[in-house]
Amino acid sequence: MTHKRWFTPWLLIAPAAVWLVVFNAVPAINTLILSFTNARPLGGGQFIGFGNYTRMLDDQQLVDALINSIVYMVVCVPLLTLLPLLLAVLVEKKLRGIAFFRIAFYTPVIASAVVVALIWGWLLNDRGVINGMAEGLGFLSGPLPFLTDRWLLLFSAISLTVWKGLGYYMIIYMSALGNVSRELHEAAAVDGAGPVRRFFSVTVPGVRNTMLLISVLISVFALRVFSELYILSNGTGGPGGRDMSLVMLIQLYGQGLTGHLGYASALSVLLFVVTVGPMLFLARLNRKES
């Protein structure tokens, strides 16, 4: 294949390439450079070596944020790997009205995290419907402080993330289930395996790679959490700022004219380092499959 005009492909790629360079490559390199400086939005920018990185060691908020991230991952990964698979199996069979259920289950995914967090903030409020009903039915004598207790707030945000993610991973599993051999299912059924048995010995092995993929995606997603914690804590990061996430710290230090761009960049590098592990694992997984 020859082209009369050698530059045609480059012309087509040019806009995307400009975005690749200006909004991806340059910021990536710049983040690394800034992380070794004391840059402020208005001036500054002397090279201070590993100053920002040694500062991290004494940052109690960062320690809290990393603990929060670990808790987030440990709870989210099993729940969001398993529950959406069960959902996908549930909506797999063509029943009347199944299209409606599929779309409905996907609704939390398309809603903004802000909208969803405001809705849950109202549900979990001291005077909200969950506390109200629990008290009304006599389960509780007073409201549970879902939004003002360090751990309850974290778990509220986690349940919100799980709830919002169900439909997203359900869709990924739906595509994967299509590749699970029907013959294998039928053979297992003929051999007298019940639905539960078939789920564990046919479905789960059949979607094993997708489960791996999804647990990697969730790990990375849990490390990147921002809006849920920000909105549920009303921007404060919870009692004593102990419910901050890593990204909340990046936003806190990086934003505005008084920001510490250097420290925010060092935190960004840290975020990259903790997410790159799962990502590289995913890249290897993809290469093996293709």
């Binding site: 200006v22 063509k94 299209a99 409905a104 419907v129």
Partner: protein, 283 residues
């Protein structure tokens, strides 16, 4: 009745009841909170929303909360701002990702492997990692505190370029070869052969670019300082801080942000689920 097949695919009545029961339980869990919020937004000031035995259907449904919320924050102007950003992002992605995706899939040129590798490499970079430096760049370009600044970094997303490339790759090579023999230029082949064959993926890119831009929070929060330029998500967060005592107003605000995206998704969902269905539902 449902189109149940024969043999293995036949669903027993008991199983059908069980499945519908489970479907309804999940429906309540996933959609219930939205309906509760909708209900709260329609309840008048005389109706107690804090009661221990809440009523799901408003006793005297009213739209007054929607006019009231517009008096406290310019919620319709914010919706307009969000729409401007979303339109810019959709247009940028539809055009930029289509052109680059086509070149990467269908045109041979020196360095194409390297370029593709660079696009792929960006995928391991979470957007939050570069967000502070992106802000430095956008400010350097003179777009801080502007809607263009909000739209700019996401206006061509690398993932969309790769998705469009995948879609173009699925067009058989001999179709293209025939057109080349006929003397069609790359541009003509993109318009006449390429585009009609990637409508599905292009719709997915359009839907998700819109949802991405409309829902985004962190980036506009960083870029915007002037309250007149807030997008809906940033404005709503502000509403939350100021008027948490009246959940009816917050409910009305969230519905204004939520309903447009539901309508758009409901209208375009068949493009989205078509791809899933084709692979997933064989029985």
């Amino acid at each position: 009745m449902a189109r149940s097949g024969r043999g293995f695919n036949t669903i027993s009545p008991a199983e059908k009841v069980l499945r519908y029961a489970l479907l309804l339980v999940v429906l309540v869990i996933t959609v219930g909170p939205f309906l509760w919020q909708l209900s709260t937004s329609l309840k008048g000031v005389t109706e107690d929303v804090f009661t221990q035995t809440p009523t799901f259907v408003p006793q005297h449904p009213t739209l007054s909360n929607y006019t009231e919320v517009a008096k406290t924050i310019p919620v319709w102007a914010y919706a307009g701002n969000s729409l401007i950003v979303a339109v810019l992002v959709v247009a940028g992605n539809a055009i930029g990702a289509t052109l680059a995706g086509y070149a990467l899939a269908k045109l041979r040129f020196r360095g194409s492997k390297l370029v593709l590798g660079l696009f792929l490499a960006t995928l391991i970079l979470p957007s939050e990692v570069t967000i502070i430096s992106q802000y430095v760049i956008v400010r350097g370009l003179g777009f801080s505190d502007s809607l263009i600044g909000v739209a700019l970094p996401g206006a061509i997303q690398m993932l969309n370029v790769l998705l469009m490339r995948t879609a173009f790759l699925s067009i058989p090579a001999d179709v293209d070869a025939a057109a080349i023999i006929d003397g069609a230029t790359a541009w003509q082949r993109l318009i006449r052969i390429g585009l009609p064959n990637v409508k599905g993926m292009l719709s997915v890119v359009v839907i998700f670019s819109f949802i991405f831009a409309w829902d985004d929070f962190l980036w506009p929060l960083i870029v915007l300082t002037d309250p007149d330029k807030y997008t809906l998500t940033v404005g709503l967060q502000y509403l939350n801080g100021t008027f948490s005592s009246n959940p009816r107003l917050i409910a009305a605000g969230t519905m204004i942000a939520f309903l447009p995206i539901v309508v758009i998704f409901a209208l375009l969902q068949r493009f989205f689920f078509k791809g899933v269905d084709a692979g997933a539902i064989k029985g």
